[in-house]
Structures are given as structure tokens and as C-alpha cells.
Amino acid sequence: MTTTPNQVASQLGKTTISDEVVTQLVEIAAKEVQGIHSIAKQGIGEQITGFTQRFSGKSQSSQGIIVEVGEREVAIDLRIIAHYGVKVSDLAANLRRAIIDRIESLLGLVVKEVNIQISGLFFPENNPTETASRRVE
């Protein structure tokens, strides 16, 4: 019977991956997908009303990404700001594919769930400074 590196490793101990690592990789994968402007952030109101949560648990929601990491599986909740003109279903499919590819290939974790919420839209004409900076390249 042949054994893969994962199987050999599990007999000798376990590998724990921190939530921060998964969050970081999700963010990198998301930024590579066309149609996504940014990851949604918590507003001041939410930060104040949710301040008791910061004293308990490991909430990653300050960046719009919440991950639940187990020994073999991971579940991801993601809130994003999309560019105006995108189609939600296509964007979500691309985003899921990017996240799953990255997480599964780099971390060896099975992505159980990727919940995506489009929490806002980015309209370029309402943000002239951002549009201007793009032209400078």
C-alpha cells in the first residue's frame, strides 16, 4: 500500500494551519479575480457594536473574511465589493475556483464551503481619485 505525504504525516503528528494563513491566501486569491474591487471592511459602527466580540473568539471579520479551519477542511465566508457591470454568478464561480485552487494546492485542505456576499458595488465615476491613479501606470 502506497502512502502519500499527508498519510505519512498524519501517523507522526498533525499539522495545524492558523486562521491568519488561510485568510491571507483567500485575500490573495480574491484580488486576482477580475471584477472584484476589494474585500469589504467593517464600518466604524460595526466595530463599536461588535467590540465585545474582540475579547472572545478569533473573529477575522474585520477584513470581510471569516474562516473556519479544521484539521482537513476549511469553510470560508467572504464579503466583497464588486465592480459595476459584473454578473454575480460568473464572479462567484471564478472566485470560488481561485480560492479552492489556491487553498487545496498550497495547504492541502479541502474547501468545504465558500459563501460569498456582494456587499457593495464600485462605480468608477463616483471615485475620480481611484480612476486617476489607474491612468498614471
Binding site: 504525516a9 494551519i17 491571507q24 498550497l106
Partner: protein, 111 residues
């Protein structure tokens, strides 16, 4: 008597583990307050490595900061680290290694 002599000091084991792990390209062990884990003794501390003796065998915990490129992955790196640690400890002592647990604290991506 022979059995007692075989019990190497935990500090030596921790230092050996640290040296062998950091010799792998792309692997770092956190130092000082960046590490959550350490092996402690009178007047010394080895950061990022935990060495415990339980029922005559060794349990080792290691915190890692890993640099990944397109060809590498956490499972393959974990296996490599475990092989390296096992080999280096077995050259030092005949004690059995029960488990080697790894904690990936941070990942850096390299193209």
C-alpha cells in the same frame, strides 16, 4: 545506567530540532515574542520549539513560517520537516519519537 545516559537534555533536542528545520530552504522558526511556543529551562529558552517527554517517548511541537512557491505545498513541506527532524533526533538519541506536531503560523508566497 545505559538508559539514563540516553536521556539527552531537552535543550539539546530543541536546539537540534531548530537547526535541522531551519536548514530546509523556505522554512523559518519564529524567534522571541513572535513565537507562541518555547522549551524552557533554568536560564535558557528555545523559541518556537516544544519538547516534552511522555511515558518514555518524545513529543515535539514546532512552529513554522513557510515560504511557498508554485511547486511546494504545506503537506509536502510538513512531511519533509518531519523526516528531517526524525533523522536528526535519531542520530542523537535512541528515544522513540511519538509525534511531531507542526503549527504553520505564517505563509509567504514566492513566484
Amino acid at each position: 545506567m545505559a538508559k539514563l545516559l540516553d536521556l539527552i537534555d531537552e535543550r539539546v533536542i530543541a536546539e537540534k530540532v531548530r537547526t535541522s528545520v531551519t536548514s530546509i530552504p523556505g522554512i523559518e522558526v519564529p524567534v522571541d515574542q513572535d513565537a507562541d511556543l518555547s522549551t524552557v529551562g533554568p536560564g535558557w529558552r528555545v523559541w518556537g520549539i516544544g519538547v516534552h517527554r511522555v511515558a518514555g517517548s518524545l513529543n515535539i511541537e514546532i512552529e513554522l513560517i513557510v515560504t511557498l512557491n508554485k511547486k511546494s505545498s504545506i503537506p509536502s513541506i510538513s512531511a519533509r520537516v518531519r523526516r528531517k527532524v526524525r533523522t536528526s533526533i535519531q542520530s542523537l538519541t535512541s528515544e522513540q519519537i511519538r509525534w511531531i506536531n507542526l503549527q504553520i503560523l505564517d505563509v509567504r508566497l514566492k513566484d
